[in-house]
């Protein structure tokens, strides 16, 4: 049975996420000490408010999840330079004592360091580890990796082959939210430099009694992450083909074809027939309500897949899931495959 891995960032969410259908929980922890010295920027590329910041609350939350036999994983999936290691390891040693069931790591330096420290908790390779083939699986297996989170752009046939050819390691794939147009582990754009709405404050001292909105940012020009911007696109001179109009040779930017929440639920039919262990719902930055809705949606889809004792036909499963999607996300019309993790499965509907 495929497990659902869901993000959480507060103790109050633990039970509701589990009751909604989460089998595994994962979270991040931004230490105040790290925040003060290095800021939250580049700390797993998550904005403020996406991580735990109180270690006591985190410890309590792990206890609540464990009381329901639900494992908790800690994402430590940033990249770190040598200068950051003393503080990184100081924080890690505190976290290690909290009883996490796995650490999700992307940086090969941290993987090697934890291996040298003989850390007994399993290490999951974050999608930032960029695994697309069986040799890469073997590379990380030899480093002691217990589970690999495959890249969002992996096609179903690749997932099937890689998971079946490597039975000695667990695999996890993305299923909902935030389908990046670039390969996560190879994208070097900066993120989350846009204006921080959380900093908005109300001043009562302003003349005429009007309020003042205060927004802060690290980059006044940053209107959003690079993958979501609307660019002016030109054919580079010298390579233009005069016989072909520019409109015909425009590149296609998928983030600009928005059709709703990025989703791969239809592919659960095929994923369930691979050796994949767990499906990941992304969205530590999303609201509690959005994450609860995500978990319920995927749980309901898995129930349709597994319910009734009889094997459901693929076309019936896809129709049922797409109906759920329309209900949960208020989407009108048929799924067109835009923002779809695995559009190749839609051809049967």
């Amino acid at each position: 049975m495929i497990k659902i891995s869901a993000p959480f960032r507060g103790i109050n969410e633990v039970l509701s996420l589990i009751e909604s259908g989460a089998d595994e929980l994962y979270c991040g922890y931004l230490s105040p000490e790290w925040d003060k010295k290095y800021s939250y920027l580049e700390f797993e590329r998550k904005g403020p408010g996406s991580n735990f910041t109180d270690i006591d609350e985190l410890k309590e939350a792990i206890g609540v999840a464990h009381s329901k036999n639900v494992p908790v994983y800690l994402a430590l999936n940033g990249l770190y330079v040598n200068e950051q290691y003393p503080l990184l390891l100081k924080i890690f040693r505190k976290l290690y004592r909290l009883g996490f069931d796995a650490f999700i790591v992307a940086d090969i330096g941290l993987i090697l360091t934890l291996r040298n420290m003989e850390v007994s908790v399993p290490i999951h390779l974050s999608t930032g580890g960029t695994v697309f083939n069986s040799e890469a699986v073997d590379f990380y297996r030899k480093l002691g990796i217990f589970r690999i989170v495959l890249d969002r752009q992996m096609r179903l046939e690749w997932i099937k082959d890689i998971s079946e050819n490597n039975p000695n390691i667990e695999f996890e794939v993305f299923i909902l939210n935030t389908l990046c147009v670039n390969i996560d582990g190879f994208c070097t754009y900066t993120h989350i430099y846009k204006k921080e709405k959380e900093d908005m404050i109300l001043s009562k001292k302003h003349p005429q009694g009007r309020s003042v909105d205060v927004l802060s940012t690290y980059d006044i020009h940053g209107e959003g992450d690079a993958c979501c911007l609307k660019y002016k696109v030109d054919v580079l001179s010298g390579r233009r083909n005069k016989n072909v109009p520019d409109a015909v040779i425009s590149p296609v930017f998928y983030k600009q074809i928005r059709d709703g929440v990025e989703c791969g639920a239809c592919a659960l039919y095929d994923i369930a027939r691979t050796k994949v262990k767990s499906v990941k719902i992304i969205g530590r930055q999303l609201s509690t309500q959005e994450r609860l809705a995500s978990v319920k949606f995927i749980r309901e889809a898995l129930s349709v897949l597994n319910g009734g004792g009889e094997e459901i036909r693929r076309v019936d499963f896809l129709n049922a899931v797409q109906m759920m999607y329309r209900r949960v996300y208020g989407y009108k019309g048929r799924c067109r495959g835009n923002n779809c993790y695995h559009p190749e499965v839609l051809s049967v509907v």
């Binding site: 010295k37 290095y38 800021s39 920027l41 580049e42 990249l79 330079v81 950051q84 290691y85 330096g109 090697l112 040298n116 580890g129 960029t130 697309f132 083939n133 069986s134 890469a136 073997d138 590379f139 990380y140 752009q153 096609r155 690749w158 890689i162 147009v181 390969i183 070097t188 754009y189 900066t190 430099y193 204006k195 009007r210 309020s211 003042v212 909105d213 205060v214 927004l215 802060s216 940012t217 690290y218 980059d219 020009h221 209107e223 959003g224 690079a226 993958c227 911007l229 696109v233 054919v235 580079l236 390579r239 015909v248 040779i249 425009s250 590149p251 074809i257 067109r336 779809c340 559009p343």
Partner: protein, 290 residues
Amino acid sequence: MEEAVVVGNVNEIEKIGATYTRVYFGNEFCERLIPDIQDFEKVLDCSLRKSKAVTLVTPYVTDSGLERLISLFDFLKRSGIPCEVVVNDWGTLNLINREYLILKPVLGRLLTKQKRCPRLKRILQRERSRCWHLPGTKDDNACIIVEKKLPVAMDSYYKGSNVSSVPVIQRFLNNSRVSMIEIDNIEQGLSLDLSCEDRLLAAVHFPYVYITTTFFCPIASIGGKRKVSDVISSCDKPCRKYVFLLRHKSFLKSIYLAGNTQFYKYGKINAVELSRLGVARTIYHPQIAF
């Protein structure tokens, strides 16, 4: 300092200047552009004739791309050619170190994890926080925007990388027979610390700095072959013909979209300074070729 140049085909080798002692051939970003054995053989022969060393460049790969690499590696092994191979996939390194010990792996720039965002120079150069007062928002409230200064401690993060600074990685690479790492000549400046006991060397690509790459190739979609975010199974390689410029005020400079990869251009290079940092090779890209 060794000077290498990237070539797209055998004919280009005839034209390269005497200062270049090494030729780079292959592709870092797309497995569909892994060269055929015949083309690679021609490059090897021509380079040998012109007394140039050859480096085979390889991309990140799926299992099917790996099969194509195996064909090339088998050819090199059979021929007894101890070729240098740039790896941009940990799986390729794993394969070489198990089956092809005749080959000399170099860690490609996709695995050296620099931050290459074109907005970084501007952000890092800010000396202090700044503040704007914007009157008249839609609710008639006043709005103040504070542009903060990055913490000074982030300087080494944005100019360096894990591979170019962390000793445990460098020791691991040495044990994996990697003696050179590739990086980009990023605009915000470089910070390298390669001083661990078995010193690694660095090679610097210029003038095109890679920023990001994808399997969802925006160029392969030209002509409307694909309407959704999918990996197409084959393409006519329109990337050989078209390069696009993307402009947005967020970056204050143009982004080059070539094939499935984005770059920015930064041509200023200081060989003396690079040498001081431990850079032993420059890799010149005459064009943003795919």
